[in-house]
């Protein structure tokens, strides 16, 4: 099993929101999707997944409702709300700026050391 990387709380929130932006999904699905997309680098355990989902829901960014899963079992589906979508956009913009900045710093640092 590849070593899992600890996620900062804010990053996990961002990942969940991004995942739910495509389609509404249950908790298991979210965890699986993040794992797939990150090529098994990011593994989200239920211990951090569910508190994060609850937190986002309490903030009103996502909303939950019970529905039927692919194999016809009752499951709780989460979907992004309008405020959640707006929040995701600002967060993504912030993330881009931040990662670009960090990339710049690290890139320069790499040049200097080589």
């Amino acid at each position: 099993m590849p070593e899992s990387t600890d996620l900062l709380q804010g990053t996990l929130d961002l990942l969940i929101l991004k995942t739910l932006a495509v389609e509404s999904m249950h908790g298991w699905g979210v965890a699986q999707r993040i794992q797939q997309l990150s090529k098994d680098v990011l593994q989200v355990g239920q211990g951090s997944l569910y508190p994060a989902l609850y937190r986002l829901e309490y903030k009103g960014w996502i909303r939950s409702e019970w529905g039927n899963s692919e194999n016809n079992r009752r499951a709780k589906f989460y979907r992004l709300t309008a405020t959640g979508r707006k929040h995701l956009e600002t967060e993504l913009a912030t993330w881009d700026r931040l990662s670009e900045a960090i990339g710049l710093v690290l890139g320069r640092a790499a040049e200097a050391s080589s």
């Binding site: 249950h26 908790g27 298991w28 965890a31 355990g45 239920q46 211990g47 569910y50 508190p51 609850y54 937190r55 829901e57 309490y58 903030k59 009103g60 899963s69 194999n71 079992r73 009752r74 499951a75 709780k76 709300t81 405020t83």
Partner: protein, 879 residues
């Protein structure tokens, strides 16, 4: 933003259902198992692996729960519920904590509300600490006064003050003449007076300089009370003309509601003083009118400096006074606060000290109780920590409990404070400034609440914060040595404080007893005093007054059960009496005594029946005879004290004496025994009785008091007296009072002070004893097992008794010794309140410790008995 808030609110009010979460996690787990079986793992193994990956469900649930907005509120509620459950489980403990807190908070708040105005609160004047009262004081007048002549001179020549202004001495009655007449109090002050105190009128304006001049326009200012009451708060009152004593006067201003005369007198109508310098040089024997003078110190000038600068002016003025008066006059400059409250300040400080000691005891009690609780819960806390409770949660819990207790204590305490204050005001005698206006001070209520809260919290937290060692889990109950020592010292301190309080109260009680018991030198039980105020416009000559009073005298003599009907211009032991200087007294054929020595002599005009009514024995010579009242010879009787001072080696009877103020030749006919005449607590003065004759000159004054001594009780004689007076003139107002009651009223103030301090002393004692009992009972219960072992090993009940009692007695003895030392060292503070009692009163300092030991013994024996009854078998099996 709004939607977010709404979402939060929704979840706040509708918490999720618990099984919601369980279902969701179950689905997650099933999916995980399904995924593993899909790649070929056996169902059992898949389930095992999934569960391992899954981790702790319960902690996730808790974490999810904690995401909920308002989650912390539910934990607070949980803490509160837990605390309340704890209180119910141990009601005695909770009641003692709440009662202790309530008493401490209640007593402190009530007392502080009373003394605050006397000692601390700013006076209602601008920069009041720079205002002083200045003038001369005299053995007969302890409040500063200045005669007009000197006032004008000082005002012109002084340097230390910015403004100097005067008011007239005391309000005098005046009549508002109109359709709705009223008797009012009138006073006058100068135009500079209000600005000196930084007061501006509520309506209208202050006096103008041209109004404050001789023969100026007749204008007045009126008090807020008169404006609201009599004039119904009329906004157009300014420039209205009213009629005072028959002359019109124009209202130019209304004083603000908060205005208070610095002399604490009250008046309704204020005239400009309109000082006429020329008249002040001639009137009243060239001295001018007396007045009360106030001044504002220049910045940077202290009262001492001002005193030194005014001293030469004062010394220069002494030449105007007769030699006899010189030595008794002093210059006095006092701060405004001292002028207002100097004579009650000692009581106020003592009261404050008492109540702070009570608060100290209360806090120590709370601390000690909390520590006991903490110690007994050490194990519980250790278990909770071991089970994963985090420290901050435990601290929050301890705080919640402390807060609940303080809150309950504060609620009950405020109720106690209100009651106490109402009782104070009810019991309070007149003449204690500001007491009647005292109201609950919320600042101090909050302060005491916070103090007791802190006190409870600090000691409650000490245990929550303590890192429990693993031993705590095993130990049935462990009380660490340092804490036991701390608690012991707290109880010792409480006992010491209550000894101090008790001895103070005991001395006051003894002193009060002396006041009550002292021999007044006269009988007061059967005498009713009757005062009749004759309206001057119908009795406008001394002859008419005399006729009325003599008719009344013979009417009263006809009353059933009458023993004696005396007339006097004043009655001992307190109140007004005609004092004069001993040095003014002279004996015919003997040189005058040195001026200014000998203090004062009480002078009373009486009829012969005065001595019979009050049962004052004539120990030498004879009483005045009834026929002497019609004679021409002026006669007098000396008190034993005066006789022994004037005639140490001769027989005074038959000697001629006189005083400067008139009567040159008065024959001494007898000597009466001494009567207490300087109030209840002061030294008695030497006294001279002059015969009140039936000549109109003797009846010019307006002080006429009848003393009716009757075999009938006062209540049944009073209607008779009233009807006798009404038959002579039914319009005159009559005042009647049993003399016994008059005397008892004089003792009101010491009675009040004693009752108050005694109350606090006993509150303190009760708290201290509760503290002692609580500690011993707690320690005994903690040592049950130890006692069981000891008994199993052969200790007798006596051994156990001494084991426990020894512990308690050590604290009592140490606390007693400490308290006694402090009490002896501080008892001087009480000196001004004590009457005929030494500050080292041996009775007090023997009885109080004995009393405390007795009470403490009870507090020790109850837990000791419980200890003796421990059944070793039960105690050991209890392990």
């Amino acid at each position: 933003m709004i939607t977010e808030l709404l979402t939060r609110l929704r979840y706040f009010f509708h918490p999720r259902r618990r099984d919601d979460f369980a279902n969701e996690l179950a689905f997650h787990l099933d999916q995980s198992i399904a995924q593993k079986t899909a790649i070929g793992v056996s169902p059992a193994e898949a389930r095992r692996q999934a569960l391992i990956e899954f981790g702790a469900v319960e902690s996730t649930r808790e974490q999810c729960e904690q995401q909920r907005p308002g989650w912390w509120i539910s934990t607070v509620l949980q803490d509160v519920r837990y605390a309340l459950r704890g209180f119910r489980r141990n009601p005695l403990f909770s009641i003692s904590v709440v009662a202790t807190l309530a008493l401490g908070i209640g007593a402190t708040t009530a007392v502080f509300s009373v003394v605050d105005r006397v000692l601390f609160r700013p006076l209602p004047y601008q920069d009041y600490d720079q205002i002083v009262s200045l003038g001369m004081v005299h053995s007969l007048e302890h409040q500063e006064f200045l005669m007009g002549r000197f006032y004008l001179e000082w005002k012109d020549n002084q340097k230390p003050f910015g403004t100097v202004a005067s008011q007239s001495t005391g309000p005098h009655p005046c009549d508002l003449v109109e359709n709705n007449p009223a008797q009012l109090d009138c006073i006058s002050f100068q135009a500079e007076f209000l600005p000196l105190f930084g007061i501006s009128p509520l309506l209208g304006r202050n006096f103008l300089p041209e109004e404050d001049r001789p023969n100026g326009p007749r204008v007045v200012m009126i008090s807020y009370a008169l404006w609201r009451g009599h004039f119904a708060g009329d906004q157009h009152i300014i420039d209205r003309n009213i009629n005072i004593d028959g002359d019109p006067a124009r209202i130019i201003g209304v004083l603000p509601a908060s205005f208070q005369f610095p002399t604490l007198e009250s008046a309704d109508v204020i005239f400009p003083m309109a000082l006429n310098p020329a008249i002040q040089q001639t009137t009243n024997g060239g001295f001018g009118n007396p007045m009360r003078t106030f001044a504002r110190l220049k910045p940077g000038v202290s009262i001492e400096q001002a005193y030194a600068q005014i001293q030469p002016l004062f010394n220069g003025d002494l030449k105007w006074f007769p030699a006899s008066a010189k030595s008794e006059l002093r210059l006095s400059i006092r701060s405004l606060r001292d002028r207002e409250t100097q004579d009650v300040q000692p009581v106020a400080w003592i009261l404050l000290a008492f109540v702070l000691a009570v608060l100290l005891i209360a806090c120590a009690n709370v601390a000690s109780l909390m520590m006991a609780r903490g110690a007994s819960r050490g194990r519980e806390l250790a278990v909770r920590l071991a089970l994963g409770a985090n420290r901050s949660r435990l601290i929050r819990q301890a705080l919640t409990e402390a807060f609940l207790w303080s809150f309950a204590g504060a609620v009950v305490g405020l109720a106690i404070a209100r009651t106490l204050l109402a009782v104070f005001i009810r019991l309070a005698p007149t003449g204690i400034p500001f007491l009647r206006e005292a109201h609950l001070d919320l600042r101090i209520a909050v302060f005491t609440m916070v103090l007791s809260f802190v006190c409870g919290t600090v000691f409650g937290l000490a245990f929550a914060l303590q890192r429990p060692c693993s031993a705590t889990l095993n130990a049935r109950a462990s009380i660490s040595r340092s804490h036991a020592l701390l608690r012991r010292s707290l109880v010792t301190l409480q006992i010491a404080a209550s000894i101090v309080l008790l001895s103070g109260a005991a001395m006051l009680l003894r002193s009060f007893e002396k006041i009550e018991e002292q021999n007044l030198g006269m009988q007061t039980g059967r005498v009713v005093t009757v005062k009749v105020a004759l309206p001057w416009f119908r009795y406008n000559t001394a002859q008419k007054s005399m006729q009325f009073y003599l008719n009344l005298e013979s009417a009263l003599r006809r009353l059933p059960g009458n023993r004696a009907v005396g007339i006097a211009d004043s009655i001992p032991p307190g109140g007004w009496q005609g004092d004069f200087r001993y040095a003014d007294l002279f004996v015919q054929g003997r040189p005058r005594t040195t001026p200014g020595t000998g203090g004062t002599v009480a002078s009373r005009w009486v009829t012969p029946d005065y001595f019979r009514a009050l049962n004052i024995p004539i120990i030498r010579g004879r009483n005045f005879a009834d026929q002497d009242r019609n004679g021409t010879q002026q006669e007098c009787i000396l008190s034993r004290l005066l006789a022994s001072r004037l005639f140490p080696s001769e027989d005074p009877v038959g000697k001629q004496i006189g005083n400067k103020s008139g009567v040159a030749g008065s024959t001494v006919v007898g000597i009466a025994d001494n009567v207490q005449n300087g109030g209840l607590t002061e030294q008695s003065l030497p006294e001279i009785y002059s015969l009140w004759r039936n000549v109109s000159d003797d009846w010019a004054g307006n002080r006429v008091i009848f003393l009716v001594d009757s075999v009938m009780p006062a209540a049944s004689i009073e209607p008779w007296i009233r009807s006798q007076i009404a038959s002579l003139d039914r319009t005159v107002p009559v005042e009647m009072e049993p003399l016994k009651q008059t005397v008892s009223t004089l003792a009101d103030r010491p009675r009040f002070e004693t009752a108050l301090l005694a109350f606090f002393a006993f509150t303190g004692l009760m708290l201290a004893v509760i503290g002692l009992y609580g500690l011993l009972a707690f320690m005994t219960s903690q040592r049950t097992q130890e006692i069981g072992v000891r008994m199993a090993l052969g200790a007798t009940k006596t051994n156990i008794l001494s084991l426990i009692a020894h512990d308690g007695l050590r604290m009592v003895l140490a606390g007693g010794a400490l308290g006694l030392g402090v009490a002896l060292a501080t008892s001087r503070m009480l000196k001004s309140l004590l009457f005929q009692i030494s500050v080292y009163d041996p009775f007090t300092f023997i009885v109080v410790p004995l009393l405390l030991c007795l009470v403490a013994l009870v507090a020790i024996l109850i837990p000791a008995r419980a200890g003796m009854r421990v059944d070793p078998a039960v105690a050991l099996r209890n392990e």
